[in-house]
């Protein structure tokens, strides 16, 4: 048990890879076996994450379950992992969603082995980002997450649709989406890479805790450029990379395509976890390392966040493709996350700032749940109707009442209905932002417009699918939501409810971590 305790994080991190390796050895046609091995493996990982949660002492500041091992000593980078409250919540989210996502993929029949292996590898990549305490390691896992996602979209994405590339070449929509996703993210990563290299060169280490200590006292010049300029450049490099991931307007354009064309499970994990990687990057790296620059430019970030909220909502509202509507909603919701972070950056250490940050992190968790849920539900209806066009639906409520109920519930959580989780986090963000400085209240007000449209698009979505006159063609052809699908939704529903009514169990942990951060 000692052994398990001392290496718990590594276990959690690498168990998915081990399971993937096991799957690689299974015969390709044993699809059921493969699916169940993957599911149980990911469930096991979730179990370990729960053990982690239970043993985590939220009162202790700093990182727990730390492990340091030699990795690449020549350049002073080590395998250094650990969790604090923020990363713990993210780990929980990831390990919770993965089994659900795998369960949701049971209907996939094409190359199941590769599909499951890729998902598990993706899980490791995401977990690695959240628990890394070494900058280089962070980058490694950041990049590792790209490749499985690329293939998942490219190979198992939606089969219909075509887009045009440069030179008039036509490619399938999923190829286009995956390519754009890859290139955008890599372009951002490039800046990140260069900035990380520079940091390594200047400070002689990649270890995050050490860096946070040392970084602010560095006054060396890099090739004759003053330190503040260097830090500013690095700040922007980091910011852009993470902004692309979040995504922050105007770096978001990869998202609608990627989310829409990805297979259901892919969209779930993309929206549920991957976007959080970007926000997490802001929290873990940008704020501690560049507090000055963060404060300086927080206004810009806030503006962009507000624009994300507003434009995201407006775009959502204008969609006829259900999945695209949900995709844009991610932009909208992540905008709140960013707003909270921007406020916290401006007002570091103040009460409002803390509240805003709490809200941001909670929103990350909440949006993970609701987005995954929404995408799944879209997937459910798509499987049955083979269309995502909202105009094709209508008045389905009597046909699929259970589904309808679940859809309404999840949508309400997404919308931020009080009593459900979305409300708590959005409220915290808004409250926190309001109390910061003088321009931020303005932003808050603007974001309210966004909220207004959020309501609009969600209600529109529900209306067009469930209410209104019944679209005759679905009569008799539409089956109710299956037990498996309900099982997938249940943990999400339960959590959304609990968090909405009694958020303290999570919020406490987050709060203490946030306080320790400043």
């Amino acid at each position: 048990m000692e052994f398990l305790e001392s290496y718990l994080l590594s276990f959690i991190l690498f168990l998915p890879v081990v399971v993937a390796a096991v799957i690689a050895l299974l015969p390709s046609n044993e699809k059921t076996l493969i699916r169940w091995v993957a599911f149980l493996g990911s469930l096991l990982t979730f179990g370990l994450a729960l053990i982690l949660w239970v043993n985590f002492e939220s009162n202790r500041p700093g990182f727990q379950f730390e492990e340091i091992h030699i990795w690449y000593s020549a350049i002073h980078s080590s395998y250094h992992v650990g969790v604090d409250g923020i990363s713990l919540s993210m780990v929980l989210l990831t390990t919770l969603l993965t089994p659900l996502v795998i369960l949701a993929s049971f209907k996939i029949g094409d190359r199941v082995k590769a599909y499951m292996a890729l998902f598990l590898l993706l899980e490791t990549g995401m977990l690695g980002v959240f628990i890394s305490l070494d900058l280089l390691l962070f980058f490694v896992f950041w990049e590792i997450g790209l490749v499985p996602m690329y293939f998942l979209i490219n190979q198992w994405g939606s089969e219909k649709g075509e887009r045009e590339l440069w030179g008039g070449r036509k490619v399938s929509a999923r190829a286009y989406a995956s390519f754009k996703f890859m290139i955008f993210t890599m372009a951002g990563s490039l800046g990140l890479l260069l900035a990380i290299q520079m940091i390594g060169v200047i400070s002689g280490t990649f270890d995050l805790p050490l860096l946070v200590e040392r970084w602010n006292s560095i006054d060396k010049q890099l090739m004759g450029i003053p330190v503040s300029t260097v830090k500013a450049i690095a700040f922007w490099a980091f910011t852009i990379a993470f902004a692309i991931k979040v995504p922050l307007w105007p770096f978001h354009t990869w998202l609608p395509d990627a989310h829409t064309e990805a297979p259901t499970a892919g969209s779930m994990i993309l929206a549920g976890v991957l976007l959080k990687l970007g926000a997490y990057g802001f929290l873990r790296l940008v704020l501690p390392l560049y507090p000055e620059q963060a404060r300086q430019y927080s206004g810009i970030l806030a503006i962009l966040a507000v624009l994300s909220i507003i434009f995201g909502a407006l775009s959502s509202f204008g969609q006829t493709d259900f999945k695209r509507l949900v995709a844009y909603s991610s932009v909208n919701h992540m905008g709140f996350v960013m707003l909270g972070i921007a406020a916290a950056a401006f007002a570091q250490g103040t009460e409002s700032g803390t509240i805003a940050l709490n809200g941001a992190v909670l929103q990350m968790f909440n949006h993970g749940l609701s987005a995954a849920g929404m995408f799944f539900l879209v997937g459910v209806i798509y499987e049955r109707t083979h269309t995502r066009n909202l105009n094709d639906f209508g008045g389905l409520f009597p046909l699929v009442p259970v589904y309808g109920g679940i859809l309404i519930f999840t949508s309400m959580a997404s919308l931020g209905l009080p009593g459900l989780n979305g409300f708590i986090s959005e409220f915290l963000v808004v409250r926190g932002t309001w109390g910061v400085g003088w321009v931020f209240p303005l932003f808050t007000a603007l974001s309210m417009i966004g909220l207004f449209f959020t309501g609009a698009y969600i209600l529109k979505g529900i209306k067009m699918v469930l209410h209104g006159p019944l679209n005759k063609k679905w009569v008799g052809h539409l089956s109710e939501i299956s037990p498996r699908e309900i099982i997938i939704m249940s943990p999400l529903i339960v959590l959304m409810l609990i968090l909405g009514v009694w958020p303290a169990w999570l919020l406490d942990v987050i709060n203490k971590a946030v306080l320790a951060l400043f």
Binding site: S73, V140, F141, M223
Partner: protein, 490 residues
């Protein structure tokens, strides 16, 4: 007396090559099996050597020295240190996988393997040489078999042209360096070709500044430095698969390594003077090479130019003359060697089946050759410098080293990463996924077991090095420390 492991590794190929020549030409199976056995022995010994090297002690180990010509101070003098031990291992790996991939050569396999093995001996010999004369001796031995291998077994369309161009180019480079080496020999006044002794010769600075470009660039021609890289893409494309694997995987490293050993280590002041200029050449390699690779439609040309680009990174790493850069260069030599061997092996497999290498005409290979696809993806990720694989382990320190020297160069060079990513993705999505053209869809069958063994070995190494860099980096570090000492602790 300890087992002369280095000499055995060096001479096993050529001795087996001579033995193979004695086998009657029709007995192809015996020929192949002998070749495989010999390469397996060489690989085994090189692995043994690799893990027997003691990093604590560092310095040159497993040294053997025999006088060759007293009067001129020429000796047969070999030893391994942190820089060349990985390269010896690399050669063993490429030799072994090369034989596996060449199993299907049907036209005079006897002569093919004999010449290939002569090449292998030459390569091994250069890597382990501690005597300047001996280095040249083996260097030239490595050049001429390429001519025959490409001209006889290469791609019919360009093989004669490519073979002649390659041989003449490389020969020019090496003789230019030879003149420099002779100048060093006489100027040192030591009357010996012993490189370790020459390291301490303290040549006058003027001398070093004059001769460094000749020596460094003469060898770097084989390393593919711009603008003397021209022989490489044509050579790559025209050569038969195993020869391409050797060529890009090992031979180009020979050039970079000799440039290091003879140029940087023996003329350190000259190196310090010239490197700020030479690094500009390497930038062209890195960025331009990637760009040209991107616009090719022949798959093999893409890989060929990609080699030019990646070798540019090696040269760039050396050009930084600092710790991180050189560590990265050392690892990159190994990583790229394995990666490019893998690439060429895959290209060969595709060409053998589809009889075309034009990307527009290829497609859908993942369905017929799944393992090959995965292997190529691994190679592609290495090429892009994706973390988790050896390419990242190699490229990251190189960039760090460049940052220390001139930050803007790092930024410019990193453009190549994006370009590389784009063409790799393009190839993967078109050639492996996408639709397989009708013309040959029925003739394509999966690769043989031997091919798979080779691919798994190569891809596995790339992965292992990527997640566990300590398996190689400390070794390279110890070699780099020695070089830095010669440079005066720069």
């Amino acid at each position: 007396m300890q087992f002369p492991i280095i000499s055995v590794i060096v001479f096993i190929p050529i001795i087996s090559g001579m033995l193979i020549l004695l086998i009657p030409g029709e007995r192809k199976t015996e020929i192949r099996v002998t070749a495989l056995a010999a390469s397996a022995v060489a690989l085994g010994l090189s692995i043994l050597l690799y893990f027997s090297y003691d990093i604590e002690i560092a310095g040159y180990q497993f040294v053997e020295k025999y006088t060759w010509l007293q009067d001129l101070g020429i000796s047969y003098y070999v030893g391994v240190d942190g820089m060349n031990t990985p390269l010896v291992l690399l050669t063993g790996i490429v030799m072994f996988t090369g034989v596996l991939i060449s199993w299907g050569i049907d036209d005079r396999p006897r002569e093919f393997f004999a010449f290939l093995f002569i090449l292998a001996t030459g390569v091994f010999g250069v890597f382990v040489s501690l005597d300047l004369f001996m280095l040249f001796f083996f260097y030239e031995i490595a050049v001429f078999p390429m001519f025959l291998l490409i001209a006889i077994w290469g791609w019919k369309v360009t093989r004669e042209y490519a073979a002649m161009k390659l041989t003449l180019y490389l020969f020019v480079g090496s003789v230019v360096a030879l003149v420099g080496a002779l100048a060093m020999y006489f100027t040192s006044g030591l009357g010996t070709f012993d490189m370790i002794a020459l390291e301490g010769a303290a040549f006058p600075v003027v001398f070093q500044k004059f001769w460094f470009p000749f020596v460094f660039l003469g060898f770097a021609v084989l390393g593919g430095i711009w603008p003397f890289h021209n022989w490489s893409p044509d050579g790559h494309v025209a050569a038969p698969t195993a020869v391409s694997m050797f060529h890009a995987g090992v031979l180009m490293k020979l050039g970079a390594f000799a440039a290091l050993r003879v140029g940087i280590m023996l003329l350190p002041e000259g190196a310090k003077f010239w490197m700020p200029f030479i690094i500009l050449l390497t930038i062209v390699n890195v960025v331009y090479g990637a760009y040209i690779a991107m616009v090719q439609s022949d798959l093999k040309y893409v890989i060929g130019f990609s080699s030019v680009s990646h070798m540019g990174l090696v040269a760039m790493g050396f050009a930084t003359l600092n710790r991180e850069g050189m560590i990265g260069a050392g690892v990159q030599m190994f990583s790229h060697g394995v990666m490019t061997a893998l690439f060429f092996a895959v290209v060969g497999m595709i060409y053998d089946r589809a009889h075309t290498r034009l990307i527009p005409e290829l497609g859908g290979f993942s369905k017929k050759m799944p393992l090959v696809t995965v292997a190529f993806i691994v190679g592609g990720l290495v090429s892009m410098g994706m973390p988790g694989f050896s390419g990242f382990i190699a490229e990251f320190p190189i960039f760090m080293g460049v940052w220390r020297m001139q930050p803007w160069i790092a930024i410019v060079a990193s453009i190549s990463i994006v370009i590389t990513a784009s063409y790799i993705i393009r190839i993967i999505s078109k050639v492996f996924f996408g639709k397989m053209p009708e013309e040959y869809a029925d003739h394509i069958h999966d690769v043989t077991v031997l091919d798979k063994v080779a691919l798994v070995l190569l891809a596995g190494i790339l992965f292992i090095l990527g997640v566990y860099p300590s398996i190689m980096v400390p070794l390279v570090e110890s070699g780099v420390d020695n070089i830095l000492r010669l440079l005066g602790g720069a």
